[in-house]
């Protein structure tokens, strides 16, 4: 779990300044524009270019290779693509659709990743928002101490929880899963439940902290007015607080989504590793172990595993950055 409370990064202001810089770009005559011109020297531009290229090349190489025939990947470097041209979609077809036992069969794992991420995000977000509302707007003295305690839990590393939580799950959850399997045979005995619960447990302290920051900033007048009108806490929470907190909820949802999607440790311990439950990251890590030299499979599989968080990231970058600025990272 994370760690840090960068509570006093002035997020709103920074975004506004960022926009100011964009405007300045269009109007070089303004004050900001002139400063900009003097700050950008040639050396700096070259250095920035070098860093950008070095940072991009590894991913680019993977992407290019994933479209090359196996024979070419094995014998030539991807940078010689123009001397050794070749293009194929076979790699993707074989990691996704091939049904032979030894092939990656990623389809099932993608479904697992989606299923795990969807509920792990939803449950964490809902329960965190409820707790954050209670901490912010139902006043009792000792509640503040409880909040500080929950906040402090962020410093407990995930590793401290794994063994006991696994024991609890095998004592209490396992019989339930078996029972469910007996009643509804279509649901395998290994199901998503442990992963949903585990991700919720580990995600809550940070989520409560971030959402609390936002929800406690809602003007007291709004809440008081609703109370005077006779609204209950339940109504205030669903009709007023949740709609107002949507930007914060969105930021954290993206955050939690990417974190859960990219997780390996929690999956390794709670998923059981079968096609029934394991997410795509776990499958990819497994492939590295068993098919470490089959680069035509690894490159395509890796690209498939990173494409969904990348799409989310590019589409919702603004929210993602906002969430990052508000909460630093967790992990």
């Amino acid at each position: 779990m994370s760690s840090v409370a960068p509570a006093d990064l002035p997020i709103g202001k920074e975004l506004a300044d960022g926009e100011a810089a964009e405007i300045a770009e269009r109007e070089p005559g303004t004050k900001v524009g002139r400063v900009k011109k003097r700050l950008t020297s040639r050396t700096a531009t070259i250095a920035a270019l070098v860093i950008a290229v070095v940072w991009t090349i590894p991913t680019f190489g993977l992407l290019v290779s994933s479209f090359r025939p196996a024979e070419l990947i094995r014998t030539t470097g991807w940078w010689t693509i123009f001397q050794n041209p070749g293009f194929t979609l076979d790699n993707y077809a074989s990691v996704l659709f091939s049904t032979s036992r030894s092939s990656p069969q990623l389809g099932a794992y993608i479904v697992n990743s989606v299923a795990i991420t969807l509920l792990a995000t939803l449950i964490t977000l809902t329960f965190a928002a409820m707790a954050a509302y209670a901490f912010a707007w139902i006043k009792f003295k000792w509640v503040n101490w409880l909040f500080i305690f929950v906040f402090a839990l962020q410093i407990v590393p995930l590793q401290m929880s794994l063994v006991p939580v696994l024991q609890i799950f095998s004592t209490w959850l396992r019989p339930m899963q078996a029972w469910l399997h007996d009643i509804v045979p279509i649901i395998p005995e290994q199901n998503y439940l442990p992963l949903w619960l585990a991700h919720t447990m580990f995600g809550l302290p940070l989520a409560i902290f971030l959402l609390h920051n936002f929800i406690s900033d809602i003007p007291a007048d709004v809440i008081e007015a609703a109370k005077v009108d006779g609204a209950t806490h339940g109504q205030i929470f669903f009709r007023i607080v949740l709609p107002l907190a949507t930007p914060a909820l969105a930021s954290f949802a993206i955050f939690q989504f990417i974190w859960v999607w990219n997780d390996l440790l929690v999956a390794l311990i709670f998923s059981g590793g079968t096609q029934d439950v394991a997410p795509i990251t776990q499958r990819l890590a497994e492939l590295v172990g068993t098919r470490g030299q089959d680069w035509q499979l690894l490159t395509a599989a890796a690209f498939i595993s990173i494409i969904i968080p990348l799409i989310v990231f590019f589409a919702l970058q603004r929210y993602f950055v906002r969430g990052l600025l508000a909460g630093a990272t967790k992990g």
Binding site: D17, K31, P58, L284, I306
Partner: protein, 322 residues
């Protein structure tokens, strides 16, 4: 995956959603129907109930139990065996040393490169695109990043053409190709490179936002005083973003201390590359040495603690200055 499997999975998700909605609905029902007497108490308790339940079962109780397990041997008797093992067994000591190497290199390099990059591209043309290129790895899983870099580090024996970029460069300069992942200690350094690759974007975005928060007047005033770029950077920019620097540095430090996925995927801790988090997994879940695993988890906690205390102190001081 057969159609039946897929149906089973969809059914699970639908059932999960239904049960979850029912739980939330029930909670809301009781919140609104709370008895008049001590109404606020009831409502507070119900709002907090689910989160507290998860936190107690998932974090509070386990943390206590792990701390106790660390001081028990296999039969359950109290002993310091696990810690004696950790500080005397060469392989365990190597694990601790590696973790120290990681945390000594990764945070500082990521922060420095991230800061330099943020300064270089600040208010330049196409800043947005520059940012995306370096920031992108943050959305890539450590496992995905490991595959990407494993391909860069790939080794081909003999005279065969190198397909890994790093060895190709070495050969192009007339060197001999190296089995990077099997060669100690360069393998640990190359694993750290992956961490730096991922974390630099994070550092860059936070620091860039902080740099934009520095008032333009301060920079202009410094310019009027006839300072050069480096002096402005030292005396205006860095003090202006000190808070963000501390947050970035400590956050990456903690992430580095807990690094697991990279080591697990690249070497599984072989070839002298293991770190505490990886060894914790290996001991507790592969070797069934729960006591040793717990002791390693506890050590991890102890290593994280001073960083956080430092962080909180700096942030508090800053708030006082304001």
């Amino acid at each position: 995956m057969t159609t039946a499997d897929l149906l089973g999975k969809i059914l699970q998700v639908v059932m999960g959603l239904a049960v979850f909605a029912a739980v939330v609905g029930l909670l809301v029902f009781f919140i609104d129907k709370a008895p008049k007497k001590g109404r606020d108490y009831w409502q507070l308790a119900l709002f907090l109930l689910p989160a507290m339940l998860f936190v107690v079962v998932g974090l509070v109780y386990p943390a206590i139990r792990t701390s106790l397990l660390a001081f028990q041997d296999r039969s359950g008797a109290w002993s310091l065996d696990n810690f004696i093992w950790m500080f005397t067994q060469p392989s365990a000591i190597r694990t601790l040393i590696n973790t120290v190497i990681w945390v000594a290199i990764a945070p500082i390099v990521s922060t420095v490169i991230g800061l330099a990059y943020a300064v270089f591209i600040d208010r330049s043309r196409g800043e947005k695109y520059y940012k995306v290129l370096v920031f992108m790895p943050i959305a890539i899983s450590f496992v995905g990043a490991s595959v990407i870099w494993r391909f860069v580090y790939e080794y081909r024996s003999g005279d065969r053409e190198q397909i890994g970029l790093l060895n190709a460069i070495v050969v192009a300069f007339g060197g001999e190709p190296v089995q990077w992942m099997q060669t100690d200690p360069i393998n640990t350094i190359l694993l750290i490179v992956i961490m730096i690759w991922v974390q630099t974007g994070f550092a860059m975005v936070l620091l860039s936002a902080a740099i934009k928060g520095i008032p333009t007047e301060q920079i202009e005033a410094a310019q009027l005083d006839g300072t050069n770029g480096w002096q402005r950077f030292r005396n205006v920019t860095v003090p202006g973003i000190r808070g963000a620097l501390v947050v970035v540095f400590t956050t990456i430090s903690i992430a580095t201390l807990k690094v697991f996925d990279i080591v697990r995927t690249m070497t599984a801790g072989n070839f002298e590359t293991s770190v505490v988090a990886n060894e914790m997994y290996t001991q507790a879940f592969r070797a069934s040495e729960v006591g040793r695993g717990s002791a390693l988890a506890l050590i991890l906690f102890v290593m994280v603690l001073p960083i956080i205390i430092y962080n909180v102190n700096v942030l508090r001081k800053q708030r006082e200055i304001r």
